[in-house]
Each structure stands twice: as C-alpha cells, then as structure tokens.
Subunit: 300 residues, 2 copies
C-alpha cells in the first residue's frame, strides 16, 4: 500500500432509482489516484445510494466535493420520495479514520469538505458527530429531524444555524450533515428462542441507554423464517467496547431465560482489528501487537 | 494496494555478523516498485540473516535473484561458522502465496527463481516443500543434511542430484533450497505447570507425528524465568489446522494433568485470516466472508 494515511468515507445520496444518475454520482470515485471505491448500493424503497470508499485525505476531499457537485446538480429533493428520512441531495457524509490517522484528522477533513461544498455549491452544512460544534448537533437524527421539508423553517432557528454556508435551505439540494465518527460495526447475535419479548429484554440489558455497555445500541428482532430471534447490535466504538464483550454479555443475560446463543453475524464491513482483538481475547494472547499481522505490515 | 497478486518470500542468508555485507545483501529489496521489505534480522550466534519481504511475483523474482547474486559474491561458506545448520551462502528461499495467488503460482515462481540463479551464478538448486520433485526432497532438514561440508559428496549421489544447476557444490556458495510453502505460524501455549514432562506429554498428544493434529509440530519448553512451561507449536498450515483447534486441544489434553492454560503467544508475523477465523469460531459467526474485512477490501 503506497498510501500513508487512510480515511474511510460513506456518503449517502438521495437517489436510489435512476441508475444513470447513480453512475454519474459515483463516477468521481473511479480511477482516481489516492481514492478507492469499495462498494456502492442503491435501495429503491429508500430511494437512497450508499457509497463506501477509502482514500488519502487530500484525494478523498477532492473526489467527495466533486461527487457532491454532481448530486446537487442532478437531485431535486422537491421531487424525492422514499422510506428513508433525508434532508438533502447529499444527506450525510461521515469520515472515519482507518490507518495512521487520528479522529482529529478526520474531523479536520470533514470541516475542509464542509467549507468547500458550502462555498462551491451554496449548500448549508451541519457538522455532526465528532465534528459537531454543540452537543445537540452530535446526533444525526436530531440534525435531520423535520427532513428536507421542515428544514426550510428549522434552519432559521438560532440553534440550527448551519456551520457553513447560507442560513437558508438550498432550493433543490436541501442541507447536508458532514462529520467524523468511529467505524460502526453492525453485529447481530442469534438466540435459541422465538420469543421477541426475551430478545428485547436482553437487548435492553446490554445496551448503553438502559445501563449496558457504553458503545452498544441494540434491539430485539424476530427472524421469522428461522423461527428464532436476535439481538441486533450497532457497535459504535469497537475500540472501547469490544465485540467479544457484547457477545459474552448477551450470553450472560440470555442465561436467565434459559436461552442460548445459536450464532452471530456481522453485516457489511468490519475493520480487521475488531476481529483480531476478539481472537486475542479468546486465545489469551500475551504481548500481541497489530504490527504482527502480515497485512497490517503490508499496508504500512 | 495497487498490487494484484502478493507473494511473501523469506530468504535465509548465511551472514549474521558483518553489518556492511548484510546491508549489501538487503539493498536489492529496497526502493523497488512491486517489492516491500517488511523485516530483516541477523543473529550473530546463528551467523544468519532472515529477510521477510512481500511483492508481486515478477518484481519479487528479480529482486531475489539480484540479492542471491550479492550473497554468492560476498559469502564464502568455507569461512562460515554458526550454530544454525546451513548448506549455502543463500541457505533457503521459501515463497508463500498471500493474496490472489495459488500455491501453484508460488511453485511456478520458485522454479523460475531456481532456474535463474542456477544459470546466472552456477548454483546447484534443490526444489523443496511443495516444489519438491520427489517425496524425499520435501523436508528442508533432509535436503540440508550434511550441510555445506557434506554436500561436496552428497550432491553426487543419484538421489541428490540438484533440480537446477551443476551436480557439483559451488566452491564458496554451496547449494540452495528453493520452494513454495504455506505460511508458518509460530504459536506457543503457556501452561500453569513448571513440570516440563507434562508440557512434553501435551505437546506429543497434539502434534501430528504422535497422533495429533495434521498441521501441528510441537514440543515442550521450560520458561524458567516465569516458572512455567509451554507447548511451543509450529502451525504448518493454519488454513487446514486452525489456530483455535490447536489451542482448544492443548486445553483438553492439559486437563488430564490438572493443568490450565495461562495464555498464549504468537511469535513474529501472522496472516490476518488465521486470527479472523479464530474470532469467527468463538463468536459462532454465520455466513462470514473475508470480503467483509475492510482491510481485505482495501488491499484487493
């Protein structure tokens, strides 16, 4: 790997149906030095496009700004319907530090991109998550509440002034949230019971909001076709709340209902460190360093 | 990663003392497109230099051949003493498939390098391990038996004709073994007992030669400063005999002596897949693919 620093970016665009437009939005991520398009998937019901890319900060910044320009030009939120909440042509752009980068650098990059898209496209930007300029702006759902339609008025409120760009909703492209965050790991633990009530109770006991683990969001879910239930987990910082800890705590909580774990699953991408740390726990590895992982060395 | 195929190479040179010569031998691995020097370490007692590098097959071939030329020029085995057995200025060159490469490709590369060094430097080459042309040549220790000194006569025996180069020991550089093999993982499991006899019994029960796991070599070792013992393991193919399986089998065998595992350790480099597979086992991951590992995708 010739890249020194790697940051991941997962921009969400409000176009999940028109394949020609999707192609144009994704085009700036192709064939660029210092940028690698890992994945993109559009959902017709959500009418939304989620792109996953990695790159060097500088190159990533340029490519993302270019794609935002394309989306602002192609997408009119006044014509947009879909199941997923959205407030802009580009709804949200998270930056995630992956290699040789600190959260501070990801925050810096998010602000740089924010300043550029505000200037170039007259787009109001809310900084969110780790980049947020006030606690009430950290949570994306809070920022987005009211969506495109409600944003016309909301953005005029003193507490919802944008961090960059005009204090006025873009007529067609709305507003965008840009920020830095830790990698999310979507992790589900499957239970031996078909009783959703039990799965929900276990989910509550392991999640942060109800007294569980600090970086765990969880809910009970039915898997009807398999006649089981699952604790569906979002690990919001696997470097602090380890994957194995959530897994073992689900096991411990399940015991009280005579329920066992039948398996677990990772949805989407996961940084290797999350799983290597888990292996390290179960093997009781002494003095282990990520520098011993061949691929980490190759990527250095 | 701009490289498509990655092969690892761990050449062993018979020079562990003269730092200037070591620098010259390692030089061909520096600053080359398609080759990355990961590590090199020299041992004065062994009088040996072990280099770890990765690269694309073509670039790796050229760099290794160049380094062999330097070693043949600088090292005279007639003057060489050291604790480690050796039969040549370059003692052994293993090639290990890492990414997007099959064992067949690694074997092919080993034969290409073998043909070149035989032709360019008049060096007799034995193909070993997966590249071996007969079963009695697979094991490096068997090939090397007699070392540089004994090779003068051994190489004239019909069953020890070299695969490439003259059937005569090189006057100063001896002979070299070149071949393809799986990655080795050096993995030690520490026991709660200071009784070496127990560690040795456990090692015997888990290793292949005595009826244990197919790709495990093991021996009992004393860790005197910690007052414990360890089962020191060489995992010769972690893709077939998984790390967790060796660990759990040591635990099971230890139970008969009332001994527990106090920890384990990985020595040197380990491919991420070995640990990710271990995490996958303990978490009971369903439908997991290495394609979900972010770093695997980045390196694609």
């Amino acid at each position: 790997m010739s890249w020194n620093k790697i940051i991941e970016c997962v921009p969400n665009f409000s176009e999940g149906r028109d394949l020609e437009k999707i192609d144009q939005i994704v085009a700036p991520f192709r064939g660029k030095v210092g940028v690698k398009l890992l994945d993109y998937s559009n959902d017709e019901d959500h009418n939304r496009l989620v792109v996953t890319l990695v790159g060097e900060p500088e190159a990533l910044c340029e490519a993302v700004v270019e794609a935002v320009g394309v989306a602002v030009r192609l997408i009119d939120l006044n014509q947009h319907t879909g199941q997923h909440p959205r407030m802009g042509a580009v709804d949200v752009i998270p930056f995630i530090p992956i290699k040789n980068t600190s959260m501070e650098e990801a925050i810096e990059l998010s602000k740089k991109v924010a300043a550029k898209v505000a200037e170039l496209f007259n787009l109001p930007v809310f900084l969110y998550e780790k980049s947020a300029t006030a606690p009430h702006r950290e949570n994306l759902a809070s920022v987005r509440k009211g969506e495109f339609e409600g944003m016309a008025e909301k953005i005029k409120l003193p507490e919802w002034q944008p961090d960059f760009g005009p204090a006025e909703r873009h007529p067609t492209a709305g507003t965008v949230a840009i920020g830095a965050r830790m990698p999310l790991v979507a992790y589900n633990v499957n239970l031996s019971t078909d009783n959703l009530e039990i799965a929900t109770k276990i989910a509550k006991n392991v999640r942060h909001i109800n007294g569980g683990l600090r970086y765990v969001k969880a809910m009970g879910v039915e898997l009807k076709e398999r006649n089981i239930t699952q604790v569906s987990i979002n690990m919001t910082d696997y470097t602090r709340t380890a994957l194995y800890r959530a897994f073992e705590l689900v096991r411990i909580e399940a015991r009280r209902y005579g329920v066992t774990i039948v398996g677990s699953e990772i949805i989407g991408l996961v940084p290797m460190e999350a799983l290597i740390d888990t292996a390290s726990y179960y093997l009781g590895l002494e003095n282990f360093s990520m520098q011993q992982v061949l691929e980490a060395r190759i990527m250095e």
